[in-house]
Subunit: 363 residues, 2 copies
């Protein structure tokens, strides 16, 4: 790849352009807003000069509702040999491109899964996509040449390509991106009615849950609307859970003890499913079949090396323990007493080395 | 304060004990689980020896459903002169204490608003509460002596005291802690039905929204049940918004263009309320009355100091810009051209200094 064009010098487009320019690709920047182009150029993302011949790849980096029209226009003007986009949904833009009569052999739908709450060319970064997933949704019509060009784009941006059917992509992002955005929004909206003293107490929990709620409302209307079909079943299932929780809590808010055991069990069931769901993306380290905790056995029977000293050394090592199994309490420490340390698999080796460095016998 | 007792050597209790011991308070540790006490003692949180006389303050650091009973038992045994707790709800435990015949003049309800997803004495930290809010809920019966002792406790832990009526506290934490926990849980639960390729694509958005969902399900059943009444109205309001969003998306998922303008407007309205709600806890820096962005005017007319060089220096300064206002494009740069930089109020001074250090004229 020697030349590229980026249409839309927002956060995503400018970041792609920064990455490509940094890898020696002559990148042409196009945007309806000349100030946006000036800033992108000034940041080193490429040139505002139009290309003199079709570029190797054009990235259409505009909101989903404009993607197909923008792509069709530039394809008619022969901007590039290959075209890709960055829209957060894939099925609808592709259907629109078909309807607009695009040549689909040179189209590769794309979705780099990275972002920041800040938008615009000023917020762009060349490393925005580093080690992130970048989904590509080629169709049976997509040429091998076009797909390989798109894979090269992903690689130059430092991202990990993932090939999916457009509909599978849309269902996936409905679950892992669009649903959480809507939940963050609905939670944050409740803050509007909160008293000052209540809002003041907002801590890490509320901040984490509502962080993505600050995204651009116009853009997110676009995204959610374009993926409305995939979101439907998810919202229906969540609504059922929400109603169950609300009903259980309504019963618990009364003084009637009769239905409360059931209500508590329903609540616990919902909370457990949340824990288990979370574990699919952030596995717990203690006691699951997929990622069992490792047990390090540390000898603490030597009266010069008591438990207190071990805990001090563990604090210094600054590695997280999942748990500790102590020898039986109430008996005098025996020479062969040992303590079991439960650690995550990736902590086991560095912690073993850290403890041996401090003179501990570790098995 | 010279002596203290902590009943319950979990994350919160052990962290309090670590803070107090670090400030020279002789802290006695009590827990039904002797291994938990051993670990807390070994971490330097205090002593397992029972006090020989009533301590200055006892902190009941057990789950909400056990708080009142534990407090009543220790008050009967004259463990301390003043008692406080750490339960996440305040009205119900206090009502239970009254019913159990406690001496309420020496009780000060408390709620340190800090935590970690990890639990137990191993996860405790002396600085867990540093600069966090710590709510105290004295009642008309609380003695001045007891309140002052509790304020001293908060201060020794480095936290910021906030005095609230118990019911106001409960409504506040329902909004800023319990509601987001439930929303995180309901969102995370959807991951259980997700395909592997979908779950693989989970990024920062899903992780942020579901982070708190990994909290202990038993403890959170306790907490939510104890605050069921305050949660009711919040869940009802959120359910209405959720139904509105789901209905709008259902209309958008059809091909019928007729109701779609309204559906889009409803979605945008909900998303905007999420943006505005979020802004109550994390104010945006550009253009609100409360925190207006500051405009720095930087001269860029000198042909040796073009916009490109300014942007390079801005990158090096590593401070965030909210926006940039350029001189009119399409005209040759004039000697008195300047660029307006929109920055957050707390960025203005350091950025001005950084730019002046690099030779820029900044007003």
């Amino acid at each position: 790849m020697h030349t590229a064009a980026v249409v839309g010098t927002g956060l995503i487009g400018t970041s792609i352009a920064l990455a490509l320019t940094g890898r020696g690709v002559r990148t042409h920047l196009i945007d309806r807003d000349p100030d946006s182009v000036r800033i992108a150029v000034a940041r080193g993302a490429g040139t505002a000069e139009p290309p003199s011949e079709p570029v190797d790849i054009a990235v259409i980096a505009v909101p989903p509702s404009h993607t197909s029209r923008t792509l069709a226009d530039h394809q008619k003007a022969e901007l590039a040999r290959v075209y890709t986009d960055v829209a957060s949904v894939k099925a609808l833009p592709h259907a629109e491109c078909l309807a607009l009569g695009c040549d689909t052999t040179t189209l590769v739908g794309g979705h780099p899964m990275a972002g920041r709450e800040r938008s615009g060319p000023l917020a762009a970064r060349a490393d925005l996509f580093q080690d992130h997933h970048w989904v590509l949704t080629p169709t049976p019509e997509t040429s091998e040449f076009a797909l390989n060009r798109a894979l090269e784009l992903v690689s130059l941006c430092g991202a990990v390509p993932v090939l999916l059917e457009p509909a599978d992509h849309d269902r996936a992002v409905a679950l892992v991106s669009h649903l959480p955005h809507l939940m963050a929004t609905l939670t944050a909206a409740r803050l509007l009615e909160g008293d000052e003293h209540a809002v003041r107490l907002a801590g890490r929990g509320m901040r984490d849950v509502t962080r993505v709620a600050s995204g651009d409302a116009g853009l997110w209307t676009d995204i959610l609307a374009a993926n409305a079909a995939a979101l439907g079943p998810l919202l229906a299932a969540l609504s059922v859970d929400l109603a169950t929780a609300a009903d259980a809590l309504a019963r618990l808010a009364t003084d009637d003890p009769e239905p409360q055991g059931d209500a508590l069990a329903e609540l616990t069931g919902i909370l457990r499913r949340g824990v288990d769901g979370r574990a699919r993306i952030v596995p717990p380290y203690g006691g699951t079949a997929e990622r069992p905790a490792t047990v390090l056995s540390v000898a603490v029977g030597d009266r010069n090396r008591p438990l207190e000293r071990l805990l001090g050394d563990l604090d210094e090592a600054r590695l997280d323990l999942e748990g500790m199994v102590l020898p039986d309490a109430g008996e005098a420490p025996a020479p062969d007493d040992s303590v079991g340390l439960l650690v995550a698999p990736d902590v086991a080796r560095p912690l073993t080395e850290a403890l041996r460095d401090r003179g501990w016998a570790v098995r």
